[in-house]
């Protein structure tokens, strides 16, 4: 399994931890410190993204807004997007799916669950 994954979270430790999980599973990882940074990096890449993983509460551009903007661009219409957030209420999940996310996980991330989720979404 391989491919490039974009991880957006304002917590350095979460970015690191997700990087460890994903790198150990054979992915290349690019991290972004918030939604605005993630958007720049999404557009800035020449190679396609396998998956985008994003938090919700981030400065500059929150996760919902990031997902909406990505979905508004033909290039990113079909990219699997996973939300990983501390927000665990039903309304948060609904909002996430409305914005265009494919999956929603609650922190702290279970590494095996995350990898399984990714495998399922990229059809591996």
């Amino acid at each position: 399994m391989g491919g490039k994954i974009l991880v957006a979270d304002d917590s350095e430790m979460i970015r690191n931890f997700h990087s460890y999980i994903l790198k150990s599973a054979g992915f290349d990882v690019v991290t972004a410190v918030d939604g605005a940074d993630a958007l720049e990096k999404a557009y800035g890449s020449s190679a396609p993204w396998a998956v985008v993983i994003t938090d919700i509460n981030m400065p500059n551009l929150d996760g919902y807004a990031l997902i909406e903007r990505l979905r508004g661009e033909p290039e990113f219409e079909d990219i699997p997007i996973i939300i990983v957030s501390t927000e665990d209420e039903l309304k948060d999940k609904q909002r996430g799916f409305e914005a265009g996310a494919n999956a929603y996980l609650v922190k702290p991330t279970d590494p095996a669950t995350l990898i399984e989720m990714i495998k399922m979404l990229i059809g591996a």
């Binding site: 304002d10 917590s11 350095e12 430790m13 690191n16 931890f17 990087s19 460890y20 999980i21 790198k23 150990s24 919700i56 509460n57 981030m58 400065p59 500059n60 929150d62 996760g63 919902y64 807004a65 501390t86 927000e87 309304k91 922190k107 702290p108 991330t109 590494p111």
Partner: protein
């Protein structure tokens, strides 16, 4: 400038531009009345642009009502509004700390988390104390956040508490976070705990390896070198960045003139493996500090301008290494490249070598 009533009216105009100008001007008014008007508009405004102008205006203000009004926005259903509140409060510095501290007891774990975000951006002793309080938060995600932030703020006054968390927690992510924080602020007790938790390579969990290496980079000693060799052999391509940092950290803190031969041979092997050029560059420059004879021939091997970064590493390494025989090779390289930075680095290394005696321009 128009009066405040007029500005508030314009704040609700149909024109996006008018609303933006009104928001900006209300910011300069810097009164409780303008704060209320701006905060009210923020919650109903649908133009992203105008929302940003409102937030920037609020960030420039400082009125008696501001803190309490903005704190209430932390409870908003809208992510932008919540983030804006964090941004504004963080900008107020220490005076906001008293306003947010009571929220550490809020029933909502998310609100408690926002308090930590604000405290982190404020920094300072009072803010760190708020973060330290959160080390006992019932929600583990908040504890993790507090540990991360205290580490990043280099809060050595709370090292003891983080040591304790590392010792006692069964939560993987918290353990990793503690390791990475203690890489910055750890002490001897931290080292003892780490050694006890991870007596050998096999005892380090797969996902903990990265954080462990970070701890070693910050606080590791010579005693960790054998373990580092295991990492290089088993996890070379995967954890190259973390391994190099750990290596640099240990070597910098321990004076060596000569590298132990097993370590050197592993590093040479590493340099030749499929790592990124930037990592190769870094390792070559690092080797320049040591006097093992094999290092000199390694530099000459990489003195090929086709791979700029590796070549740069070799050039800089030769300057540091100090063998004046290198002058010939550097002068020769100078004829074969037009790259400005490479040429600059060559000049610099030649200068360094000249400083060791004799005239390196005589060729």
């Amino acid at each position: 400038m128009p009066g405040i009533d007029e500005l508030i009216k314009s704040l609700n105009s149909a024109s996006e531009k008018e609303r933006a100008f009104a928001a900006e001007d209300l910011g300069y008014e810097n009164s409780d009345e303008s704060v209320s008007a701006l905060v009210e508009r923020l919650q109903v405004e649908d133009s992203r642009f105008v929302r940003e102008v409102i937030v920037n205006a609020l960030k420039s203000m400082d009125t008696p009502l501001l803190i309490n009004t903005v704190v209430s926005l932390l409870y908003s259903d809208d992510a932008f509004t919540r983030n804006s509140a964090i941004d504004i409060l963080a900008g107020l510095g220490d005076k906001a700390v008293d306003g947010i501290r009571p929220l550490l007891a809020d029933p909502s774990k998310d609100v408690r988390k926002f308090v930590l975000d604000i405290a982190f951006h404020i920094g300072g002793a009072e803010a760190k104390a708020v973060l330290a309080e959160a080390l006992s938060d019932p929600e583990v995600n908040n504890v993790i956040t507090a540990v991360e932030y205290l580490g990043r703020l280099e809060s050595t006054e709370y090292t003891d508490r983080i040591n304790e968390l590392l010792r006692s927690t069964g939560n993987l992510l918290l353990r990793c976070t503690c390791l990475e924080a203690l890489a910055r602020i750890g002490d001897e007790t931290s080292q003892e705990i780490v050694t006890r938790l991870y007596p050998d390579y096999e005892s380090i969990g797969e996902l903990e390896k990265y954080s462990y290496l970070k701890f070693i980079a910050g606080k590791g000693t010579r005693d960790h070198l054998p373990l580092l060799l295991s990492f290089m052999r088993e996890k070379g391509p995967l954890m190259v960045k973390e391994i190099i940092n750990a290596l640099e950290g240990i070597l910098q803190r321990n004076g060596y003139d000569l590298l132990p031969s097993e370590l050197l041979s592993e590093i040479v092997h590493f340099i030749g493996s499929p790592i990124n050029d930037i990592n190769r560059y870094e390792l070559l420059v690092l080797l320049g500090e040591y006097k093992n004879p094999e290092i000199y021939s390694l530099f000459l091997r990489y003195l090929q301008p086709e791979n700029k970064l590796a070549c740069l590493g070799a050039v800089e390494g030769l300057g540091l290494y100090g063998n004046r025989d290198a002058v010939t090779y550097l002068n020769n390289l100078r004829q074969h490249t037009h790259d400005d930075e490479l040429l600059e680095a060559i000049e610099r290394s030649l200068e360094l070598l000249r400083g060791r005696g004799g005239d390196c321009w005589a060729d």
